[in-house]
């Protein structure tokens, strides 16, 4: 009797879950299995094949070996690291700043919050085109401002040394509204009594920030770091739109993993290689995220 009820319950659960399970199977799990199979082949992305006729040109882990022994992969990884090193501190500082600004209470603050969120809603195509203009060394407002204070700005997207910082600037503008909002939520969650108590005890602004505010919003900081590192590894649209004809220039200075995957798959007709590349990307992101989850115990404080 008991088991009959149990079984019926299971059936009901399965029934209600079936739309999403079906979606998961069709659009995630089956493609994942297939993509892993493809990563073991030299498929060109054009020739037709099916499982019945057999998988063409199996090379085992040859693609992975080829990628890892190619200097290009490490160069590209270096570009991504450069991006992360610049992006993470800046996005933390700017989105905390945004959160603090938006945490004030005055009439019309809601309108300000919306303003800061607009870049998040803007498509990358539009945003990147605007930034291409902002960063234009001759007519762009950024170099115009620098000129005003007596500095001749670099050719942001035309100079191999400055192209990645240029991309970082655009990304900060785009993302700080989103992360700012997350920090705003965390800041609002802080019990004002802690701050007041510290103030009475004579803690100054800096001490209150370091000892109370930051530890209390550390779960939000953790979340932001995890998400933005994942996003950094997946850097793509801004590169394709902002660099010289999407060629990740100047001379390859902004080549990153997803850009390479796209080119190998759809421009160089090396689908197997591209798929192996994306599996490596997955492994890297997974490893980084796990590492952070491990490390969080040392610095993230959860309210008990």
């Amino acid at each position: 009797m008991q088991s009959e009820i149990q079984r019926n319950k299971l059936k009901a659960i399965l029934f209600f879950l079936s739309p999403s399970i079906l979606g998961l199977l069709l659009f995630s799990l089956i493609p994942m299995v297939f993509s892993f199979l493809l990563s073991l082949t030299k498929w060109d992305g054009l020739t037709r094949w099916n499982l019945k006729a057999g998988i063409p040109n199996i090379v085992g882990f040859g693609n992975f070996k080829e990628i890892l022994t190619d200097a290009e992969f490490w160069k590209v990884l270096g570009h991504t690291s450069y991006y992360i090193v610049l992006y993470i501190p800046l996005i933390l500082i700017f989105s905390l700043l945004v959160a603090n600004l938006l945490n004030m209470d005055f009439k019309g603050i809601v309108a300000y919050r919306v303003l800061f969120y607009i870049p998040v809603l803007t498509s990358w195509v539009a945003g990147a085109l605007v930034w291409k203009w902002v960063l234009n060394p001759l007519y762009g407002p950024l170099n115009e401002m620098l000129r005003f204070i007596g500095i001749e700005g670099p050719g942001w997207l035309q100079d191999a040394k400055w192209a990645m910082p240029g991309i970082v600037l655009a990304s900060i503008w785009k993302d700080m509204g989103f992360f700012g909002l997350i920090f705003l939520g965390a800041l609002r969650g802080i019990n004002i009594e802690y701050i007041d108590a510290a103030r009475i005890d004579g803690a100054n602004w800096w001490q209150r920030l370091m000892k109370i505010t930051l530890p209390l919003i550390s779960p939000a900081i953790f979340f932001v770091i995890v998400i933005s590192i994942i996003n950094s590894f997946q850097l793509f649209p801004q590169i394709m739109i902002m660099t010289e004809g999407g060629n990740a220039g100047p001379h390859g200075a902004t080549q990153v993993m997803v850009e390479r995957i796209y080119k190998y798959a759809f421009k160089y007709f090396k689908m197997g290689y591209a798929v192996a590349y994306s599996w490596l990307l997955f492994v890297i992101i997974f490893a980084f995220t796990m590492l952070q989850v491990k490390l969080q115990k040392r610095w993230v404080h959860y309210d008990e």
Binding site: L22, L46, R48, P154, N247, G249, P250, H251, K267, Y268
Partner: protein, 425 residues
């Protein structure tokens, strides 16, 4: 409970069944079978934007001439065209006929997904004499004709007459060489800090041609070895790069951040090497007199063009009708005339009256240079991994252009990478 599950499963199966059946019903006869109407899919990129109307016009005329054939046009913008096309070809749902530019044509032909048109030529007694020979040849590989040329665009030397007059330089002629061009560029550069002599992009699609102007090449004659880093080619690249870094008659990447077309249109650029697709914009936007000339050579003349062709999917079930369509688009007088009227690239045909019509349009006054430059035509190296080769070379050429590598170093690095990564026959 069980019933609900059964019902849901049945509904789903029905849904999948219905969607498959409707998707597969494309070639069915319409109506009661009085006359069988065949539908031919045609996917293209060149008809996006303003040109959609023009393409529609061509389609209408074709359908009037061929009552049994309906053309289903799908136009996709260039940016996403090749991603979508590749996916459809791989999935076995390629359109019956589709557009390919020359840069992608070789890769598709070598992957064995295109229909060999020679049997269709024979069957229909197609006379190719109305087509430009060079353009036709461009879509032939491994001894088989895999596509018909639709239109092409030659690359020429455009120049600003007003700047030439101000600088006291004589206009380019067909006999010009690099040094004539350089002298004029220097005179124009001297006119002002923000006025430049020439823009000649330092990238693969120019470089493969410019090396030939200097008697060099990127591939050995038999196509088995790369010859990128020869002293001749180093000299060629040095000539191009020196114009940026030494004499600065050509703007650097930073000086050119607004784009060389804009620089030309604003009257700050004496000469620019670009294609006939600039006619439309330059006519509309230039407030000064400009004209064109065949590009100067050094040891010899060499010019190049970009061509678009139409191919038929190898597995198309309506190949006969599709061939009629691509023949119409490629070689018919009607399509050529519409093309010329709309100033939509150059039709690949040789009809004298239509070409006379094309030549009578101004500016530029010297329109015959468009065709004269075909006499010196060179084609890019035929390599299956064309896309990858292009990117490898571009990376190194840009490094040289920006002064981050010497021309010799850049070409040596390119040679090494090409040997490692590109398979030749």
């Amino acid at each position: 409970m069980k019933r609900i599950v059964n019902l849901a499963v049945t509904a789903m199966v029905m849904f999948i069944f219905v969607s498959t059946v409707t998707a597969g019903g494309k070639q069915e006869a319409s109506g009661g079978g009085v006359e069988k109407v065949v539908t031919v899919d045609y996917m293209n990129f060149s008809g996006s934007g303003d040109r959609a109307k023009v393409l529609e016009q061509m389609k209408e005329i074709f359908e009037n001439q061929n009552s049994g054939i309906r053309i289903k046009i799908k136009t996709v913008d260039f940016g996403s065209y090749f991603t979508l096309l590749q996916t459809r070809v791989a999935a076995g749902s390629a359109p019956d006929s589709y557009e390919l530019n020359y840069e992608n044509f070789i890769a598709y032909a070598k992957k064995n997904v295109l229909m060999d048109l020679d049997p269709l030529f024979k069957k229909s007694g197609f006379d190719t004499s109305s087509l430009n020979k060079n353009a036709l040849k461009a879509f032939r590989t491994d001894g088989k004709q895999y596509g018909l040329p639709e239109s092409y665009s030659t690359v020429l030397l455009f120049y600003n007459k007003d700047l030439f007059n101000r600088a006291g330089a004589s206009y380019p002629t067909d006999n010009w060489t690099w040094s004539d061009e350089q002298r004029a560029a220097e005179k124009i550069r001297a006119l002002g800090k923000n006025i430049f002599g020439i823009s000649h992009p330092i990238q693969f699609w120019e470089f493969y041609k410019v090396v030939q102007q200097n008697g060099g090449s990127l591939l050995s004659k038999d196509g088995t070895k790369f010859t990128v880093d020869t002293p001749q080619n180093v000299e060629t690249l040095k000539f191009m790069v020196d114009r940026v870094l030494k004499s600065n008659v050509m703007p650097s990447a930073k000086q050119n951040a607004g784009g060389d077309w804009n620089m030309f249109k604003s009257g700050r650029l004496g000469m620019i090497v670009t294609g006939v697709w600039a006619f439309h914009d330059f006519t509309r936007d230039c407030k000064f007199k400009w004209d064109i000339a065949v590009e100067p050579g050094n040891l010899k003349k060499a010019t190049h063009f970009f061509a678009n062709g139409i191919v038929i999917n190898k597995d198309s079930t309506v190949a006969g009708a599709a061939f009629k369509w691509i023949k119409f688009m490629s070689a018919s007088k009607e399509a050529a005339q519409i093309r010329v009227n709309a100033d939509w690239e150059v039709p690949a045909t040789t009809y004298p009256e239509i070409m006379a019509d094309y030549n009578s349009k101004t500016p530029p006054a010297n329109r015959k240079a468009v065709f004269d430059s075909l006499n010196y035509l060179v084609t890019p190296p035929v390599v299956e991994q064309a896309g990858e080769m292009t990117d490898i070379l571009n990376l190194q050429l840009q490094a040289a252009r920006d002064g981050d590598k010497s021309p010799a170093q850049a070409l040596a690095d390119a040679q090494k990478q090409l040997e490692e990564k590109i398979k030749l026959k």
